[in-house]
């Protein structure tokens, strides 16, 4: 018995040490969990904008709806990425809503513009090409080292990565960030970009860096870039011997004129097809064409969706803004400070009460409660839960509720002591008898948390979901600390001479 308790104690100490490390280290990188830097704060705590859009599915067959919604989400993600917002959260809620959280952005109109803008089709011609950096580049970087910087010029748009596989949903390397070159250092072969990259690349041997510029022609003596505004129609089709899915697009007369000039000039060169500032395909021009073109390198679903996007010039499904909120950063900070104070005061009150009322077991329960708080904070740092004001309220509430299990156990132990049992037996009986109550009563809280989470998700209320999730995690962790931790402490203490002084256990 003693040996097992000591092992449990060592386990607890290791867990506490681990939790302490997680809390102290700014940036953590764990196997399974991945890299996280700090707790993610909700908009109500750091300021920012939250927009909730509802998709209008009235013209869309029900089988296609969820695919359209996730495609819309992906496009919005891309647009938000381009804006350079730090840690945006874009998620679908219920089955027809998309919530967009933009920390730090308090200009609602700018944010709305960004989401509501139409898909822009552009064509780029290549200006330079070089083997990519042999070193990996990642989010936040503004410089890339290439093998031949001389082939680029300032103002070029560059794309990096394995662009031969466009439109792949799961292959990040194929999704290319487009950035403009702000400066070139020939001696170090370094390109400086106008804004930081938002994705990680590790191009290795296969990668390329390509320079581009919008492909333009002349109309009535004026230089005009070719864009989607000259598009007359587009439709998905199957072409060639392999029945390859393509999107066919047709130009109006001005577009046909520009397209013929550009394709004539670019024979045997690649023509970049760009949607929403992202290079989706770069076929080599084989002959001069005017009124019609095809986009290749897609699967059937992608071809269908792209064609819809090009036709309507918009997102795959019309969106309506149903809810918006902005919180000023100062208000957020203020709320965070206030809830921290409330948490500390609440914790202190509970600790004082437990120690005064339950004496030595109270001290042990307080210790367990502190361990509980540390665990909880560490969990929130590791799990990607956004901490909102409501979440903090749940966290603080769960501190009050976490001692319930201990109170149940101690009351039971006192009864057993009164009934004349020895201390060790009383402690064991206290735990055993209190267990059904602890289990049954917490299940009812779990049921409510699950329903609250559903309600929040259905309604698009992130605070409600945050509250439910936090309370759920809190109650679950509290069952562990109040039972395993306190029990081990009590058992170990009951082996020491302190246990002779029953007065410490029974006021």
């Amino acid at each position: 018995m003693g040996r097992r308790n000591k092992l449990t104690l060592i386990g607890i100490i290791l867990l506490v040490a681990f939790a302490a490390c997680v809390m102290l280290i700014d940036k953590i990188d764990l196997p399974l969990i991945g890299e996280r830097d700090g707790m993610r704060l909700g908009l109500d705590l750091q300021g920012g904008t939250n927009l909730i859009y509802e998709a209008d599915f009235s013209d869309i067959p029900s089988g296609e709806r969820s695919a359209r919604l996730s495609e819309t989400k992906r496009i919005i993600e891309r647009r938000v990425d381009a804006l350079g917002v730090t840690e945006p959260v874009i998620q679908t809620m219920g089955n027809d809503r998309i919530s967009i959280q933009l920390p730090g952005v308090t200009d609602i109109e700018k944010a709305k513009d960004l989401v509501g803008q139409t898909a822009i089709l552009e064509f780029w011609e290549q200006t330079g090409i070089s083997d990519a950096a042999t070193e990996a580049v990642g989010a936040g970087d503004t410089q890339i080292v290439v093998n031949n910087a001389g082939s680029f010029s300032v103002g070029d748009i560059i794309t990096i990565g394995l662009w031969q596989h466009p439109w792949s949903e799961d292959d990040d390397e194929a999704l290319t960030d487009a950035r403009t070159i702000a400066d070139i250092a020939l001696d170090t072969n370094t390109l400086t970009l106008d804004s930081a990259l938002t994705r990680d690349y590790n191009p290795g041997e296969e990668g390329w860096v390509q320079g581009w510029t919008p492909a333009a022609g002349t109309l009535n003596g004026e230089a005009k870039p070719l864009t989607g505004t000259y598009l007359k129609d587009s439709y998905p089709d199957l072409r060639g011997q392999t029945n390859e899915p393509v999107v066919v697009f047709e130009w109006d007369s001005d577009g046909a004129e520009l397209f013929s000039q550009i394709t004539g000039r670019l024979i045997n060169n690649p023509l970049g097809i760009v949607l929403d500032n992202e290079l989706i395909s770069a076929p080599t021009v084989e002959s001069q064409i005017s009124d019609q073109g095809v986009i290749t390198g897609l699967d059937i679903e992608q071809a269908k969706r792209l064609s819809i996007q090009l036709d309507t010039g918009a997102l795959p499904v019309p969106l309506e803004l149903v809810r918006e909120q902005t919180v000023d950063a100062t208000l957020g900070e203020d709320s965070l400070d206030k809830s921290l104070i409330a948490g500390i005061v609440g914790l202190a009150l509970v600790l004082a009460f437990m120690i005064i009322y339950y004496r030595l077991p109270g001290v042990l329960a307080s210790l367990a409660l502190l361990i509980y708080t540390a665990f909880l904070l560490a969990i929130f740092k590791m799990v990607p839960v956004t901490l909102t004001l409501a979440g903090i309220a749940a966290l603080i509430l769960s501190i009050g509720m976490a001692v319930d299990a201990n109170i149940l156990i101690f009351e039971r132990t006192k009864e057993e002591l009164r009934a004349g049992r020895g201390l060790k037996a009383a402690i064991e009986a206290g735990f055993d008898r209190a267990w059904p109550s602890i289990r049954d009563s917490n299940v009812s809280t779990f049921i409510t948390c699950a329903i609250l989470y559903w309600f929040g998700n259905e309604f698009g209320a992130a605070p409600v979901m945050g509250f439910a999730l936090t309370l759920f995690i809190g109650v679950a962790v509290s069952m562990f600390t109040a039972i395993i931790v306190t029990r081990t402490f009590l058992r170990l203490i009951s082996l020491t001479p302190v246990a002779k002084r029953v007065g410490l256990f029974r006021p």
């Binding site: 902005t326 206030k338 149940l408 109550s437 409510t448």
Partner: protein, 321 residues
């Protein structure tokens, strides 16, 4: 030994009075729904200079918002509530702004008249969402109630009449929800406190807490019944209440401690939410001891039919007179 069970009439009477006041308030004032229920926009504005509420109201009326509700918050900011503000309208071809967003127009006008200001938060809800919240809240409460009823019936399945435990816990839960709703109807009528999605969250949490508390008492009744302690049901239940009273009070106290800390120091944003929880935890503790457990006896002794029999002839007499 304290006799809890013998005084059950008084608890029921007390609860009935509290709920009566609540129901009267609900009928008289109704619950004041925030923008999440009725749709509309709210903004909290912090002016650098001192601004009179009447002047602000005047300026809002000039802007065509004479129905705006303006309140001064505890921190001296102003809460302005209007109908849903229109977003900016642009020419679809050129992208030029035809009419600017109403929110921007209001901000500019207020800045011109009252000097520098900060919009601390802004929130807008469209009618599409607003019509749903009431329905979803009702569904959530019903699903929670049924889920808990089923769970308790299952947890107490070894006893002779497990459904009774579930039903009595649910009655106590409805009691608690009514007290919370009644209190907020009263507060809404007197102080203009509005309810929002967080209110519903609070109410659902109260449901969870109320049952959590009731189960601990029921659990002891279950244990004592199995041990056949006590001469009869009344004594068994009375003993069970007494044995769990220390725990019930202490747990509620610790929870109330943290809630009080949140209420006093947590800031205005969540004050109403915390108030729901404070009221709910208090009534939840009361109802576990004084309503749920007592109802088990009332049911066993068939006191309700007896009460009705005693009341009905009297009413019949009144009608004749």
């Amino acid at each position: 030994m304290l006799d809890f069970v013998g005084k059950r009439k008084w608890y029921f009477l007390f609860s009935a009075l509290v709920i009566l006041v609540g129901v009267v308030s609900l009928i008289a004032f109704g619950l004041k729904g925030g923008i999440e229920f009725t749709s509309g926009s709210t903004m909290t504005v912090d002016f650098e200079q001192t601004v009179e509420q009447a002047d602000l109201r005047d300026e809002m009326a000039n802007l065509g918002h004479d129905d705006a509700i303006i309140q001064r918050t505890g921190e001296g900011d102003f809460l302005i509530r209007t109908r849903e503000l229109e977003p900016e309208v642009r020419d679809p071809e050129t992208g030029e702004v035809i009419t600017p967003a109403e929110r921007d127009m209001i901000e500019e006008a207020l800045e011109q008249r009252f000097g520098t200001l900060t919009v601390l938060d802004f929130s807008s809800v469209s009618p599409i969402v607003a019509t749903e919240i009431g329905r979803n809240a009702a569904i959530a409460v019903i699903v929670a109630t049924v889920g808990i009823l089923l769970y308790i019936t299952w947890a107490f399945r070894r006893l002779v009449k497990p459904l009774r435990f579930g039903v009595c816990a649910i009655v106590a839960l409805i009691h608690d929800v009514l007290v919370v709703l009644g209190t907020f109807a009263l507060l809404g009528g007197i102080m203009g406190i509005e309810i929002d999605a967080m209110f519903i969250t609070g109410a659902l949490t109260v449901i969870g807490y109320s049952v959590h508390d009731t189960i601990v008492v029921f659990d002891r009744i279950r244990e004592n019944m199995a041990k056949r302690a006590g001469k009869n049901l009344e004594e068994t239940i009375n003993n069970s209440i007494l044995e769990t009273l220390g725990r019930s009070l202490n747990t509620s106290l610790t929870v109330l401690f943290v809630l009080l800390a949140l209420f006093l120091f947590g800031g205005a944003t969540i004050q109403n939410f915390v108030l729901v929880l404070i009221i709910g935890v208090t009534t939840g503790t009361y109802s576990s001891v004084c309503i749920a457990a007592q109802l088990l006896i009332v049911w066993e002794k068939r006191e309700i039919p007896r009460l009705l029999r005693r009341l009905l002839p009297r009413r019949a007499l009144l009608r004749e007179a």
